[in-house]
Assembly symmetry: C2
DNA sequence: ACGCCTATATATAAAGA
DNA sequence: TTCTTTATATATAGGCG
């Protein structure tokens, strides 16, 4: 859908791959939102970043330790906060069932107040957010460092143990 | 993206809504597959059908009873078997973690041998498949009747209780 | 990295079979 | 229903700042 027809295989050039990722991720999310609205259907799109995979399985640290070291970074080192978990059009009952209300609120906060996100993180601390989400969902939620944008991503839900 | 620009709201005409659902669902799935391949990223797209929502929250029956009544239908009444849970490009380790291997195999079987699906259902019975998947994933997986195509959909993962 | 531009590829709404 | 077809809308690759 551009100047050139792409072959359907991994884009080897790192820069181009990340540019394409950003563009197509937003395109996919938009499409999901449209389908959700037009057809009154509930959709979740979950994107697991390469970073998440790496850290989850190769890191010697436990998630808590990863979060701890994230909190020890300076604000500048932390980069922008990014949430990669998107939920569209979840009905009240299903939302309650999944106990996602609180998370959705956090996502909305992040989306609409992204300028203040660093302050939010200071106020609550990532750890506090994590604990809250964990309690609400009875699920373990991890934050991972992303190679894209040098930012953190929230990958969920991964139900471990 | 058609002859006419659609407004972003629920399509009220039932037939048109279902046609659009079928088209856009396949489009979304294709996009997710492309993004997954091009950028080497793991993606899950989970579509909760309206039928699933209805039966989950409004039915007096327990899921087992719903499955039981499904099994009591004649083969013609059952219609074609459909799985709406799609996973793209899950790495081996992540796949093992989520214990999705068995499910993926089932999905592949269903996709590539859809002509034989009725026989497969006879051989294993939906109940047997359900139990197997439940054991493998430590998750509860439900089958729901879909208003679309008068077929059944596998909605997962919904982690209940 | 991020946004804007433009040419091109792709998706799809409506209609026809 | 379930295909095609076709006109049009949309997505996006590559460039530039």
């Amino acid at each position: 859908m551009g100047r050139v027809k792409l072959q359907l295989r991994k884009i080897e050039n790192r820069t181009n791959r990340h540019i394409t990722f950003a563009k197509r991720k937003s395109g996919l999310v938009k499409k999901a939102h449209e389908l959700s609205t037009l057809c009154d259907v509930e959709i979740a799109v979950i994107i697991f970043s390469p970073a998440g995979k790496l850290i989850l399985f190769d890191a010697k640290k436990r998630p808590e330790e990863i979060i701890e070291s994230y909190l020890n970074l300076s604000e500048k080192q932390r980069g922008r906060y990014e949430i990669s978990f998107q939920v569209f059009n979840l009905g009240d009952k299903l939302r309650n069932l999944l106990e996602l209300q609180e998370i959705e609120n956090e996502i909305l906060l992040c989306n609409f107040e992204s300028e203040n996100i660093e302050r939010q993180i200071r106020d609550k601390t990532l750890h506090g957010l994590l604990v809250m989400l964990e309690r609400k969902r009875n699920m373990i939620i991890y934050f991972f460092h992303s190679p894209f944008k040098h930012s953190f991503q929230l990958l969920s839900p991964i139900n471990i143990d």
